[in-house]
């Protein structure tokens, strides 16, 4: 509660204490997963009020995109959600394809879905590792990153890069899968199934871990919907909403998978949703590899790509939630307007509600369970 300077000097000790202590978390803080600053007002151990401050990574990406031809913008999207670069690539490529009416070959769609699910596993493993470290389970970090390395090796072999893949193009993917890739992916799936069981043994049934996550940071269903959250945060609050089911893109309508939903809405549920999603991703990968047809992987496009005037909107389910791109074209080689709906940005907006009344010690657990990536929030 702000107090005028004149009154400030006359406050008694009790009154000063009752105002709450203001502390700063971040922007350089090891558990914020990026440059996020939180201004907390505390009453003892309880958080009275939280104000997230963002923008430290702002690069003006949407404006940059308006100054460049459509296809030059694909590598920039790698820098949005840098833990799931391929999802961003797919988002913008789908948007441009809708704008220009470009058809994607069948094989390319399957390759996209395969890469997307590998990416989801890699992203969730980062969550698992860092979330474990936040809560003091340092071993989890080492195990999760060991398995993530297997996924990154696969993606590196296919795309040539480890983090900023830039491997989806307008009208397909730039190149076919390398020789023997399917066998390697299946070998990984086999290993990873077994490792997921180990994670469950190590973390899911861990008494301390459960005590620190259960009934912490409860997000009720109506609040989650009111704030427009998406992805694992929404599904952990009991809403079965997954773009892959609701508005299927690529070949998600042809593969069989379940959408994990939990009603609890706490940190524990958000963790379980992500663990279960990794299982489902493995299922999708197996089906995609089984059904993948032969054929070309890219549609030929003119050198200077000019989509007709109009507006296009596309959304994909990134590991963090609903990622959408909107582009407006006036028939010139550059887009007139680009807008990105970043899932982390919307999910972060719910943080002050979750933190109100929570203990300071639970701050990292709650923040970690939302799994934000600041590159996407600030863009």
């Amino acid at each position: 509660m702000p107090v005028s300077p004149e009154k400030q000097s006359t406050l008694s000790t009790v009154e000063i204490l009752s105002q709450g202590m203001v502390i700063n978390v971040g922007p350089q803080h090891p558990s914020t997963h990026g440059v996020l600053r939180l201004i907390l007002t505390l009453d003892g151990e309880q958080i009275l009020h939280c104000e997230p401050v963002i923008g430290y990574l702002h690069r003006g990406l949407e404006k940059m995109m308006e100054r460049r031809p459509y296809r030059h913008n694909i590598p920039f999207t790698d820098r949005l959600d840098y833990l799931a670069a391929l999802s961003n690539n797919l988002g913008i490529c789908q948007c441009i394809e809708r704008l220009g009416g470009v058809e994607v070959p069948e094989r390319a769609k399957y390759i996209r879905v395969l890469l997307m699910e590998l990416q989801r596993i890699a992203s969730h493993l980062v969550f698992l590792g860092t979330f474990g470290t936040d809560l003091g389970a340092t071993t989890m970090f080492l195990y999760a990153f060991r398995e993530r390395e297997l996924v990154l090796d696969l993606l590196e072999e296919c795309t040539g890069a480890r983090l900023t893949y830039n491997w989806i193009r307008v009208g397909g993917v730039p190149d076919d899968l390398p020789d023997g890739f399917a066998e390697k992916v299946l070998a990984f799936v086999k290993v990873f199934r077994q490792r997921l069981k180990e994670y469950d043994q190590l973390l899911t049934r861990n008494r301390i871990f459960r005590s620190r996550t259960q009934n912490i940071g409860v997000l009720p269903k109506d609040l989650a919907l009111a704030y427009g959250t998406s992805g694992p945060v929404l599904r952990a609050s009991g809403v079965a909403y997954d773009i892959r089911k609701v508005d299927p893109y690529e070949v998600y309508d042809r593969v069989e998978f379940d959408v994990p939903v939990f009603d609890r809405g706490d940190v524990w549920a958000r963790y379980l949703v992500r663990m279960e999603e990794m299982h489902q991703s493995l299922r999708i990968i197996e089906q995609v590899l089984r059904d993948m047809p032969d054929g070309p992987v890219q549609t030929k496009l003119p050198k200077i790509f000019k989509p007709p005037a109009g507006i296009a909107y596309s959304r994909v389910e990134s590991p963090r939630g609903e990622l959408s791109f909107m582009m407006v074209s006036d028939g010139s080689p550059n887009p007139v307007r680009v807008h990105i709906r970043a899932p982390s940005f919307v999910n972060l907006s719910v943080l002050p509600c979750l933190l109100e009344g929570a203990k300071v010690a639970d701050l990292v657990a709650i923040l970690g369970s939302i799994d934000v990536v600041l590159g996407e929030i600030d863009r």
Partner: protein, 173 residues
């Protein structure tokens, strides 16, 4: 009491995982001394392909890669004209490069590729600037031979067509 039993179970299962992992082969390498193999598609330092048969670089200086680049990394000076053209200068400012592969895909002559070299960090700013002698396969020798070949081809063309203008020489700095 249930907490106590649960805690003991936690300890038991956690240690079981640790025990199992104790016997797995280690996954780390001692990096600066040991290096992991790089896959063939890896996107590292660029190189300009040397054509042994024609004794020249594949590059014809068409600037398609420079146009495809979102961050204006590439600049070049064209050498020669028409089908016999190549480059005398080809500079890449890798401080700006995103290693996005768009220039490689844009090249219709298979001239520019990305190689397996990845240790590009430097303490100096000018080390980000890669000139043609750093990028061409075969280094300075290849660049010299390339210029010789192009000049020879230009001279031949000149003889065949006496009306043509003077051939462009190597651009000395």
């Amino acid at each position: 009491m249930t907490y106590f039993i649960d805690g003991l179970a936690t300890l038991f299962f956690g240690m079981l995982v640790t025990w199992r992992n104790l016997w797995r082969p280690k996954v780390t390498v001692r990096y600066p001394y040991q290096k992991r193999p790089v896959p063939p598609r890896y996107r590292g330092l660029f190189y300009l392909k040397w054509n042994e048969e024609k004794q020249r670089l594949n590059c014809v200086g068409c600037t398609l890669c420079a146009q495809a680049c979102p961050t204006d990394v590439i600049s070049m000076v064209k050498l020669g004209k028409g089908t016999n053209a190549s480059v005398s200068e080809f500079t890449m400012d890798l401080g700006r490069c995103m290693f996005c592969n768009l220039c490689v895909e844009a090249c219709p002559f298979d001239a520019i590729y990305m190689g397996p070299v990845y240790e590009l960090a430097s303490e100096r700013r000018d080390a980000c600037l890669f000139r043609i002698t750093d990028l061409a396969q075969g280094g300075e020798e290849a660049v010299r031979k390339n210029i010789e070949t192009i000049q020879r081809l230009m001279a031949e063309e000149e003889k065949a067509k006496p009306a043509a203008t003077h051939p462009a020489g190597g651009h000395a700095e």
